[in-house]
């Protein structure tokens, strides 16, 4: 399988090409990055075809075999995450070609973007925790730089807060990796799981009460929750979102926070350390807290980007709640919600960015002006809001309904009530923001010059709206079996991962 390492290498090659060739000619940088991402999507299609036959593929770098060497592993979950990543980042790139047109150092932006792509691919494909950590750091550092790319005061402030929290989380994760390596003498995810199973069978260790395992789990949980921005650790999220350019914020909320936080959490807790009921309930509590607090704080915000970032915390809380419930249906709902969050949040941020582009302001009192002259942006914003609130034809409805159903079946009936209350709060806050745009302002359309956003930005929003309408199709049986079920199966069956990988 030549394609698997190339998923990481191609964006890196693009980075070097841009640094070497396109420093003076910035249109070339955009063309190189578009070409790189198209090539990646083609390679991803090949990987998808190969995975449909064999279930999982192990790529041994340099020919070093499984527990010792560095391995890249593609399985159902990795393919699922990569699908979201490449779809959203392709759209972000289209959007940013129009959005970053007049910015100062474009080649720096594209370089960091491709570096981020390469890091995210590496995180998803990594087969051992240290490789995962290295790619996590690559993508995290690229995203710190991307947040501060405009070099304004607020952007630097937000990026500094983000970097501070990111560094703390990296130290915690590295400590967890070091302790687990000292304890089990192995780094490969499948091998750790196997060794723990052997020790558990031999009876010299009870998995649920072993103090080392509990300590490692808590370190990883804290570290990755910091990367996601779940509620006790959510302080960096709003400042980082508030001043970054719109395509960066799209990437940050739709990809970086889920892929750097939730995906490694899933891999480590479900495939490596082994999940316990206590951890599940901890994740559930964190999810509920971030849902409620995100929704409550979003009520009082007046700046659209800050408002959307609180909303993003609340949405990611849904995903973590779905994982925390822990049944098969709930995890499927969480995965579906990951897709729907990626689509709806990038749609909302794209529309906010279009207003930004037109107005260079995103205060609530100025919305009406852009809404009147930009019908497409208005439509995109409304559809994104409807999707987040959970109105039936749009994507948010399906995922939230599945999570509510799963919570009801699993017996967490209080959670259903909380979800409904949070949805009502979301509806109130979105209504507040949208009505500010629609009702207020008695000036006519002719009072303003036509402020149309460029074609690529409009195209990006149209594609996202289409996917927002039709992503409920993913729950139909054929699409679900191809895309969603392998990932869910990998998570919900405890030892299938290590057996699948090690005895290939």
């Amino acid at each position: 399988m030549l394609e698997i390492p190339l998923l990481i290498i191609v964006p890196l090659l693009g980075v070097f090409l841009i640094v070497a060739v396109a420093r003076k000619r910035s249109p070339v940088a955009g063309i190189i990055s578009i070409l790189a991402i198209c090539l990646i999507i083609y390679l991803y299609k090949n990987v998808l075809c190969a995975i449909a036959n064999s279930g999982s593929i192990v790529y041994e770098i340099g020919g070093w075999s499984m527990p010792e060497g560095i391995n890249l592993i593609v399985d159902g979950l990795a393919v699922f995450m990569l699908g979201i990543v490449y779809f959203i980042s392709f759209l972000c790139l289209l959007y940013s070609i129009a959005y970053m047109k007049n910015s100062f150092d474009k080649w720096k932006y594209y370089t960091l973007f491709l570096l981020l792509m390469s890091g995210i691919s590496g995180v998803v494909l990594a087969g051992d925790i240290f490789t995962l950590f290295v790619f996590l750091e690559i993508s995290a550092i690229a995203s710190y730089a991307l947040v501060s790319i405009s070099l304004e005061g607020g952007a630097l402030y937000g990026a500094f807060g983000y970097m501070r929290m990111g560094m703390i989380s990296s130290v915690l994760i590295l400590l967890g990796i070091a302790i687990s390596y000292n304890y089990l003498s192995t780094l490969s995810i499948a091998d750790v799981s196997l060794q723990l199973g052997i020790r558990n069978q031999a009876g010299n260790m009870l998995l649920n009460n072993n103090i080392v395992i509990i300590f490692i789990s808590l370190l990883f949980l804290t570290g990755f929750a910091l990367k996601v921005g779940l509620v006790p650790f959510h302080f960096w999220v709003v400042d980082a979102h508030a001043f970054a350019p719109a395509p960066v914020v799209m990437m940050l909320s739709a990809l970086i926070m889920p892929v750097l936080g939730i995906y490694p959490m899933l891999r480590i807790f479900f495939n490596m350390v082994g999940i316990t009921p206590r951890l599940l309930s901890l994740m559930m509590i964190m999810g509920i807290l971030s849902m409620i607090i995100g929704a409550l704080f979003s009520l009082r915000e007046k700046n659209i980007k800050r408002f959307l970032s609180y909303n993003c915390i609340s949405e990611l809380g849904f995903v973590v709640l779905g994982i925390g419930i822990g049944t098969k249906l709930a995890i499927a709902g969480a995965f579906l919600h990951m897709i729907s969050h990626a689509i709806s949040s990038s749609l909302l941020y794209a529309s906010a960015g279009a207003m930004d582009y037109a107005r260079k302001h995103s205060d609530e009192k100025n919305i009406d002006i852009t809404f009147k002259t930009m019908p497409l942006t208005k439509g995109a914003s409304v559809i994104g809001a409807l999707s987040v609130i959970g109105i039936p034809p749009f994507n948010g409805f399906w995922s939230k309904m599945i999570i509510i159903t799963a919570a009801w079946i699993a017996g967490y009936k209080g959670n259903c009530l909380i979800i409904v209350i949070v949805l009502i709060l979301n509806a109130v806050s979105f209504l507040k923001i949208q009505t500010a745009g629609m009702v207020r302002g008695d000036k006519k359309k002719s009072d303003f010059a036509a402020l149309e956003v460029p074609f690529l930005m409009r195209l990006c929003m149209i594609i996202l709206v289409c996917f927002s309408l039709f992503s409920g199709i993913l729950w139909l049986s054929s699409a679900r079996e191809a895309f969603l079920d392998p990932a869910v199966k990998l998570i919900s069956q405890k030892h299938s991962y290590s057996q699948h990988i090690l005895w290939k």
């Binding site: 290498i9 070097f16 640094v19 340099g62 020919g63």
Partner: protein, 158 residues
Amino acid sequence: MSVEKRQYYFDQSKGMGIIVKTVTRLTVGIVFLFGINVALKGHLVPGGGVAGGGAIALALLSLILAFGKETALKNINRKRITMIATLGMMMFLFLGLIGLIGGNLFSTHFMDNEGKFGILKANIIPLFNIAICLLVGSGVYTIFITLIMLQVRKGSDK
């Protein structure tokens, strides 16, 4: 010593005193060679690309400290050092990509194990070490240059 160099050497306003300058002039080459040595012997003894690159970067930094930033930046400027870093990265990547030729895996050891030169007995690992050495040396130096330049800009604003 040429006239220009002599000027830098005895100019008290740039850099540190003449004792430090003399000592730095004598030791910089040794530290540099030590860095190269550590990087090239990385596959045999403890050390390797990162340690060697760090030593090389420290040698360059001691030049900045002793002779002042203008003198050092005139000789090794930021553009040149960025190109060296890119070269190191490219070298690493292409060494990995050569392994793909002939249907092998990424970063396969593509050379014969019985190399004629002693340094190549560990196959491509010494070459990887050289690439990492270039990358780390120029990278650490770039970080310090960036910090210095920021300070200069801040000072000029005041």
